[in-house]
Subunit: 234 residues, 2 copies
Amino acid sequence: MATALQRRPGPVNKPSAASPSAALRAGKPAANPSPPLRASKLDHILACATRVFCEKGYEGASIRDIARRSRVSLAGLYYYVASKEELLYLIQKHSFTTLRARAEEQLVSAPGNPEARLRLFIGNHLSFFLQHPEAMKVLSHESESLTAPYAQEVTELKRSYYRLCRNLLEELKREKGLKALNTRLAVLSLFGMMNWIYTWYNPKVDPEADALAAQMARLFFEGVLAAANGRGRK
Amino acid sequence: MATALQRRPGPVNKPSAASPSAALRAGKPAANPSPPLRASKLDHILACATRVFCEKGYEGASIRDIARRSRVSLAGLYYYVASKEELLYLIQKHSFTTLRARAEEQLVSAPGNPEARLRLFIGNHLSFFLQHPEAMKVLSHESESLTAPYAQEVTELKRSYYRLCRNLLEELKREKGLKALNTRLAVLSLFGMMNWIYTWYNPKVDPEADALAAQMARLFFEGVLAAANGRGRK
DNA sequence: ATACCTATCGAACGTTCGTTCAGTTTATAA
DNA sequence: TTATAAACTGAACGAACGTTCGATAGGTAT
């Protein structure tokens, strides 16, 4: 999971120690502390950091907030992570990777019909969104908070995910002969609909993921299919 | 323009001085400095603050950044504004107020047809968005950054703007008998499409405001009109 | 001249920030 | 038991933060 990027930037002045996260993920949890934490403490820290970033924003959150929330000492955090920025990077990378992996997983075992495949994509995006609201808010809201070396890799992931969706729409365009369809604009509008959800979704009022996906998909498809041909109304 | 809220919160320990911004806006620019700034220095400061908040985010931006950008000394800023938060508040309030005012202005002198009126609303939102991209990004991105007393007033503005749009859609629903239409979901999806633009819009690649509005409106209407009746496809 | 506002600023206040370091404890291996 | 490395921490570092204060000009009114 850790690429060359993981240890390149940042100070990390003790080159003797191998990547601690790698050491942790390997079988040996080593020490004494309470059983619940042993398995993978980095994951625990990342989960806490996600919630803190979600609540206060990346810049507004302090490392001390995260240390308090995860019940690790301030200095202890730096045993697992090189910097505050790396925390955000790991969160975004992990979220995007699993989001895209799920989408691809659903698509390989799916019908060839472009419209059905797009529906799957939308359903996957929204169900993931509502299953991990904090992570998705951090993904949506802090997309500009990473700098030089970290930002590139996440941007790459984002682009490939966007491309996946746009390719599906372009298949649909070909199949249905929608000459006038601006696929870039349509896909970005679709992402706008979906990613904006974190600003308004209220589980007490709004439908669950499946129904939400169905409604948004219907709105999107009827719009795309009807509007992209002649301008005539229904 | 300044309501009771303007001077209530924050320290402002010199009760003798009247609201400086009010004093400024009144006819007397008073002093010596270069002609271009005299007219309304607060507006100049707000414009600079908007750009800084847009570039670095509210939490990531420092008062010193804004002072440097507006060529006012650090302490000088506090002659015009009580706090950093008031800067954001004034920006958001001003943007929302003029956005809503424009929309209402367009709607009073418009045809009674609900669909045409909604098209006007969308066109107004997008043209304002692309005319003031920095301000709209600050509006979209920093909607959670204000706290107790300030946040309420801006939330109120936002709600009334949202209500304006939703009422238009409910008129359409009634007119066309769209029994199955969830207007809350539809309106929030529309705002999602529109407000997400700040994350991707590129003037070199993407259409201008009018064309953009036309395309998004078409996508939205065809989707709403076709999808809200029976589930049948075209 | 005197008094009084408006507008402005340099310098500092106290606090919080991300990060570091020297040191301690704990678990494993010899 | 002793040596070694992993896991962890209290205390501090320097820098940056939002904000305040005392002082200083210039303009206007008396």
